[in-house]
């Protein structure tokens, strides 16, 4: 099982993702430069956080045209697992792999904190190690995390269980008071219709060690690992 961590000019949480997967979970991980066009040999792709192209124009707007993104689109089309974290989430919406868009935070300021989020659908490849309704404490650090989508699309997403994480109170209550950035319906993370591409503003890779304040992020990363193990197992059986 091999993970690719994409590196765009201006990515800066590529290191965080690498460390969580490699140092903490002991997985095979490689950095992949944005000019690469080949993802063969990789089973999972992480689009990390940071400021690709300085977030100029809009976060993810320019990175979306990087050669590597063409490969990511093909990879996702074949059912490959792609997780976009923070800037990676913004990039996935810009590339059209996920619905909606991420606007400036409601208060217009960058926000670095650790916040509770509720798992809305534990029956996905990215949340399988969680329980429905489980509250995870995850770091956030973003200026543009205000998720927006039109009402019709949102209704479909809700119905299909595509909302996987919502900002909430420590006890799991979802209300406007515990919405750090103004996201519609407190949305913190979503998944595509096929279930193989996910995007989230919180940073699971930054919550992987007790020393750094908690390990709740491992629920997400382990889910991905389990899914890939399951796929490998299946592939070897037939």
């Amino acid at each position: 099982m091999r993970f690719a961590v994409a590196v765009f000019p201006g990515s800066n949480c590529d290191v965080d993702a690498y460390r969580a997967l490699h140092d903490v979970l002991g997985r095979d991980v490689e950095y992949l430069w944005y000019r690469e066009t080949d993802l063969s040999g990789f089973d999972g792709v992480i689009l990390p956080g940071g400021f690709s192209y300085g977030d100029y124009l809009r976060p993810g707007a320019i990175a979306r045209f990087a050669p590597l993104m063409e490969a990511v689109v093909r990879f996702a089309g074949r059912g490959g697992m792609v997780l976009g974290i923070c800037n990676g989430f913004q990039l996935l919406t810009e590339a059209g792999l996920l619905p909606g868009a991420l606007l400036r935070n409601r208060d217009l300021t960058f926000l670095c904190d650790t916040v509770p989020v509720r798992v809305e659908n534990a029956d996905t490849a990215f949340t399988r190690c969680c329980q429905n309704g489980q509250v995870l404490r995850l770091p956030i650090a973003h200026g543009d995390g205000n998720y927006a989508v039109d009402a019709a699309t949102l209704a479909v997403m809700e119905q299909r269980g595509q909302v996987i994480l919502r900002y909430c109170a420590p006890d799991g209550t979802v209300d406007e008071q515990h919405n750090p950035n103004g996201s519609v319906a407190n949305i913190a993370g979503i998944i595509n219709g096929q279930g193989n591409v996910a995007g989230m503003m919180p940073h699971p890779e930054r919550a992987a060690e007790e020393l750094l304040g908690g390990t709740n992020g491992l629920f997400i990363l382990q889910s991905m690992v389990q899914e890939l193990e399951r796929r490998q197992h299946e592939a070897s059986r037939c």
Binding site: P9, G10, N12, C13, V15, D16, R19, A20, G49, G50, F51, Y53, G54, D55, Y56, T109, F110, L111, C112, D113, P139, A141, G143, E205, R206, A208, E209, L211, L212
Partner: protein, 577 residues
Amino acid sequence: MKLPGAERTARVGLTDAEYARIVELVGREPGDLELDLFGVMWSEHCSYKTSRPLLRLFPTTGAAVLQGPGENAGIVDIGDGLAVVMKVESHNHPSAVEPYQGAATGSGGIIRDIFTMGARPVAMLDSLRFGDLGEARQRSLFRGVVKGIGDYDNCMGIPTVAGEVGFDDSYTGNCLVNAMCVGIIRHTDIKRGAATGVGNPVILVGATTGRDGMGGASFASVDLTAASQERKSAVQVGDPFLEKLLLEACLELFRTDAVVGIQDLGAAGLTSASCETAARGGMGIDLDVALVPRREDGMVPAEVMISESQERMLVIAHQGREEEVQCIFDKWGLNAAVIGRVTDDGMLTIRNGDVVVGQVPAKALAEQAPLRHPEAVRPAWQDDLLDLDVTRLQQQDDWTGTLTALLGTPTIASKEWVYRQYDSVVRTNTVIGPGSDAAVLRVDGTDHGIALTIDGPGRMCLLDPATGAAMAVAEAARNLVCSGAKPLALTDCLNFGNPEKPEVFWQFSQAVVGMSEACRKLRIPVIGGNVSFYNETGASAIVPTPVVGMVGVVEDLAHICRQGFGEPDSVVVLLGA
């Protein structure tokens, strides 16, 4: 026809005596371009001509010190073959004119100072001062500065882990924005800013050169007036994205052994970078301004030489390795232009194509500004300040009310509004972030950590500059010790008014004396620093504000301590005097 000396010198902000010294050093009357170079290099900001004699009082050596003051940043050993590189620098004047860009480029400059030494920057700290937050202008300065720092540091992917903010009316016309950067390096990877090896190429890398920041260095050495608010061409615009690429490209370049020396372009731009590297290497540099990649048309050689366009570095490489250097910067989409060569004549020679437009001894520019020894006089009002009879103060009955009022004053209140705008955890090494006595970071690949803090008790320095400055050192040391670290070294930023005023220079001298004594007693060497004078508007100077940034080593990350009561029923003990 040559202008008479007096007018010429006034234009570049030098005195007649300084002009005479230039004639002596150059061996003739300098040309206009040459005089411009002396104007910026001999400004207070670049030459430290007023502060240098006093700064010699600081203890700067110690078993752990690998690099003391004099380079782009200081370096101190933290064991395991690793070292910490650190420096603090002010960007007060630019921030007063344009808070967002001023603070952003302040971060950018100090970050370059760290990676120019070969280190990977791992943490940022900041020390800020503003006037009364009741005033709209002060709120907008505060907001702009914090956003400027946040946007730059966040985009760079360097966690901002600690800092301090204070408010006092004396900062109304002169906010203080001091930024500190800390990097980690292997001893064997340390780079220095010296040009050596005759014939070696001098390569300008990074951003293109424009008119922005024209004369910023001399700008930092004058009092702020309405006219300086109008000097809009001095506003530099930061591009953190470009700097992030520059950082990664430089670190990649260092992994080859093609680099002889490297220096960032800060105040006085290409002028300071070229004459300082030449002077440190005991060599000369011969460069051609026509080869400098530009973003504006019609720039004259002097403009190219003193432009303070951000995100540029000067690399001296081994001859024959030019292509390799080019290749790395190409990969990161950055310019790299060979603009000159190292020579053995000790001269900074500037060409514009085929024509030599200036030629002066590099050492004269970089190191031989005549020192100033202004008068220091204890202000008459100092006694009045100390003449407070506390027994005559009104007895307070409403303790709860007093406590709430105190906690509500901006200087004491929580600074969460500030540090929530900073990514304090990127790179996943932050064990203790903002909100405690000191920040603690894990050192990659070891079970040690480092602790960082920045402190400056301004009000104390007004009452007694020597004691106040000593208290800055002591407070920083206590913050580290409380977090479980052993203090190792400090870097300082001395923010004062106009040193030509005897009272201000008295404050400055006292502060240096006090700080030196504290450093000696606590055995904490000073490995670098920065002096910011002329923090005045109209007649009033800021209160003297020496700021201390300190690093300590945490032997075992299992034994660190956070601020705040951890659990109920803990025993509370008061230690100390």
